[in-house]
């Protein structure tokens, strides 16, 4: 008996959370997939009606804007946040005196909620209250910085705010990576008289590949989930110029009573996440098998 218990204890302990995950994650993914194939409006209905919701999604200019925005925002946010984070980490790694204090300062924005970040940047970028008004007040009358109210540029204000929020976190991640590189190799390189920058490009950064992957995954899922920042900073506007798939889904499900559309856009969002996560999982699992 005790032998049986000993063998099966891990399974028994894991069973409840396994069941919960099956129902509340995969069960509801399945439910959403089902609803996305129906003509559900205010309330979910369950009669299947082929791919009508996906057809509507494909012809909706607003969803197209949302997907283009996700692409612009995701690419710029991930690339710039990683480059900036790496740069900050390398600069902080130069054995400077106030490293602790500086690290905290750069990491601090991460402690704020996206709503706070969004509201603060909304005021900073507001042409009538913030940066533009201030510089014009100094006498530079021709200074213009009205991206927040320009439909073509508004998405970039979201990129700015998101980078401000997250680059400190990426920096901390890279700093830990930099510190984990074997000191001996670096010292050996220095003895050989290899220039400082070459040590970084040829030794340290290549040995940090797993950190890059982690940072990429964290930033990518932040980008795809982005919702609160958009709501606080632009409210999806001007017009719907800064809509993202997440805000589109929210509008359809909760403001418009169009659950079918919301479900189909949620499925598309999930496919985008899969497109990023599956290769990652694949590479991870393959490494383990070796």
């Amino acid at each position: 008996m005790s032998k049986w218990l000993q063998d099966n204890m891990p399974k028994i302990v894991l069973a409840p959370s396994f069941v919960a995950v099956m129902v509340f994650v995969y069960g509801f993914i399945g439910w959403t997939a089902w609803v996305s194939l129906t003509r559900s409006r205010l309330m979910p209905r369950y009669e299947l009606d082929s791919f009508i919701q996906y057809e509507r999604l494909a012809t909706s200019p607003r969803f197209e804007t949302a997907m283009v925005n996700l692409f612009i925002f995701g690419t710029l946010f991930i690339v710039i946040a990683m480059v900036l984070g790496l740069l900050l980490a390398i600069l902080l790694d130069q054995k400077i005196r106030t490293e602790g204090a500086l690290r905290t300062i750069y990491l601090y924005p991460m402690a704020l909620s996206m709503i706070v970040t969004g509201t603060a940047w909304k005021w900073i970028l507001n042409p009538g209250l913030g940066l533009e008004a201030m510089v014009q007040g100094w006498g530079f009358e021709s200074f213009e910085f009205d991206w927040l109210v320009d439909p073509d540029m508004a998405i970039y204000t979201i990129v700015i705010a998101a980078i401000w929020q997250s680059s400190g976190f990426v920096m901390a991640l890279f700093l830990a990576g930099l510190r984990s590189v074997d000191e001996e190799i670096i010292k050996a390189a220095q003895v050989d008289g290899i220039p400082h920058w070459r040590v970084y490009t040829a030794i340290i950064i290549p040995s940090m590949a797993p950190i890059f992957l982690s940072a990429f995954i964290v930033l990518a899922h932040l980008a795809i989930k982005s919702f609160d920042l958009v709501i606080a900073l632009t409210g999806g506007g001007p017009g719907y110029a800064t809509d993202l798939p997440a805000t589109y889904m929210y509008a359809m499900a909760f403001s418009r009573g169009d659950i079918g559309q919301a479900a189909s856009s949620a499925m598309v969002m999930m496919l985008v996440v899969f497109a990023i996560v599956v290769p990652y999982l694949y590479s991870e699992l393959r490494v383990k098998d070796d």
């Binding site: 506007g237 110029a241 403001s255 009573g257």
Partner: protein, 414 residues
């Protein structure tokens, strides 16, 4: 012992018959949570309690009713519908089609609602011939508010056509005043849009374009002209309007930064709260053109079990339509009573104008539902139109492209 059993039995019998006269009970889901609104709903609660009822309040704040809608859906799906919920316009019919609304025709017929309400408002409260909801108030949407001092200083009369409005706006702009205070949020763009549709196209065009969604009307030259006027109006708005809340736009008119605002009569509450007087500090008028766009709040009753809850629904319906509640509530809220026989002596001049116009437009058939405030269309269609309106207003899209996009979007939302 025998007498004891007998008395016990009769006690049960009394309790059983008593159930038919159960104390009215109501759980009311609503989204009147801001200061003035909460005060208004408290009036109803007091009256309900004074009539022996037990009121369970279920206020859900946020999102202009979106959060309340979500809560309601969750309650209905779990088989635990509230006694009454604040829903309005075509959503009442949508809920009726889900088969969850109760019939309150008994109360309605006993109190002769059909003759007390303007016909088009009454039609919203009826589901396939039975009464399923009770109206609380009538907000007029097509108002234009003006700073009286600015108008007289610049020698401008309240405009009665959009051409007059444009001329006045040019004059104000030359004088360095922002002609139109506006907040760049989608629903505010939609509010201005529907008043322009009504003003330029007239009531019949409004009906066919924004209520019946007739493709011919949506793609007509009149609609092109409407979008042209929207583009003109965009020029009269300051550069900093994006994302501004409506009450901040109202404050601009109050402070003399801007001359006009196009907004429903909830804007009046802002003026009054700041101690401004209608006719003296600010002027109210209907937007250029004929007609009346209404936004009616209402309570729908849900199918519930238990005589106490059914009694609660009957009492609630009767009280909400009662002349006393309609008067007190609407004076607090800034709207006008839905029933036409309430004395308007205590109301301000804007409300009196509104009530007089409601009666006259009801007679000539130009009393119309507001699309921007969810009275004319289902959410998906109204949202599709708003998307186009706000995309056009916030970009340099041509009117022809906007019209094309409008008919595509409406077709796609069906």
């Amino acid at each position: 012992m025998k007498t004891y059993v007998l008395s016990a039995a009769s006690a049960i019998a009394i309790a059983a018959t008593g159930a038919a006269y159960a104390a009215p009970e109501a759980e009311v889901l609503h989204y009147w949570t801001s200061g003035g609104e909460a005060k208004s709903v408290a009036v109803l609660q007091e009256e309900f309690a004074a009539n022996g009822g037990t009121w369970t309040d279920m206020p859900v704040a946020g999102g202009g009713g979106d959060a309340a809608g979500t809560a309601l859906r969750a309650r209905v799906l779990s088989g635990n519908a509230p006694t009454a919920a604040q829903i309005k316009g075509p959503s009442i019919q949508e809920w009726y089609q889900e088969g969850v609304l109760a019939d309150i025709s008994d109360v309605a017929e006993a109190n002769d609602w059909a003759n007390l309400l303007p016909a088009s408002i009454a039609s919203h409260m009826q589901c396939e011939g039975t009464w399923c909801a009770v109206p609380v108030n009538v907000h007029r949407v097509d108002w234009i508010w003006a700073n009286t001092e600015i108008l007289s200083a610049n020698g401008i009369e309240m405009p009665t056509t959009w051409d007059e409005f444009n001329a006045a706006a040019e004059k104000l702009q030359a004088a360095g005043i922002i002609p139109l205070a506006h907040g760049g949020q989608a629903w505010q763009d939609a509010t201005v849009f529907e008043t322009v549709v009504l003003g330029l196209g007239g009531p019949e065009f409004y009906q066919s374009a924004l209520v019946d969604l007739d493709p011919a009307a949506l793609t007509s030259d009149t609609m092109v002209a409407v979008f042209d006027q929207m583009r003109t109006l965009r020029g009269y708005v300051d550069d900093n309007f994006s994302g501004r809340d409506w009450n901040l736009a109202t404050a601009m008119v109050m402070n003399g930064e801007a001359a006009f605002q196009i907004m429903g009569d909830w804007a009046k509450g802002e003026f009054l709260a700041a101690g401004k007087k209608p006719g003296v500090d600010f002027t109210c008028a209907s937007t250029p053109g004929d007609g009346f766009l209404y936004n009616v709040d209402s309570f729908a009753m849900f199918e519930v079990d238990g005589d106490d809850k059914k009694a609660g629904q009957a009492l609630l319906a009767e009280l909400v339509m009662g002349p006393k509640f309609q008067e007190v509530f609407n004076m607090n809220k800034g709207s006008i009573p839905a029933r036409t026989d309430v004395s308007l002596d205590g109301f301000d001049s804007c409300a009196q104008t509104s009530a007089a116009d409601m009666t006259s437009t009801s007679e000539n058939g130009s009393l119309l539902p507001s699309y921007a405030h969810g009275m004319a269309l289902f959410g998906a269609q109204a949202g599709a139109i708003t998307d186009v309106v706000t995309a056009h207003f916030n970009s340099d899209m041509s009117s022809e492209d906007a019209v094309k996009m409008l008919s595509d979007a409406v077709a796609n939302s069906m």
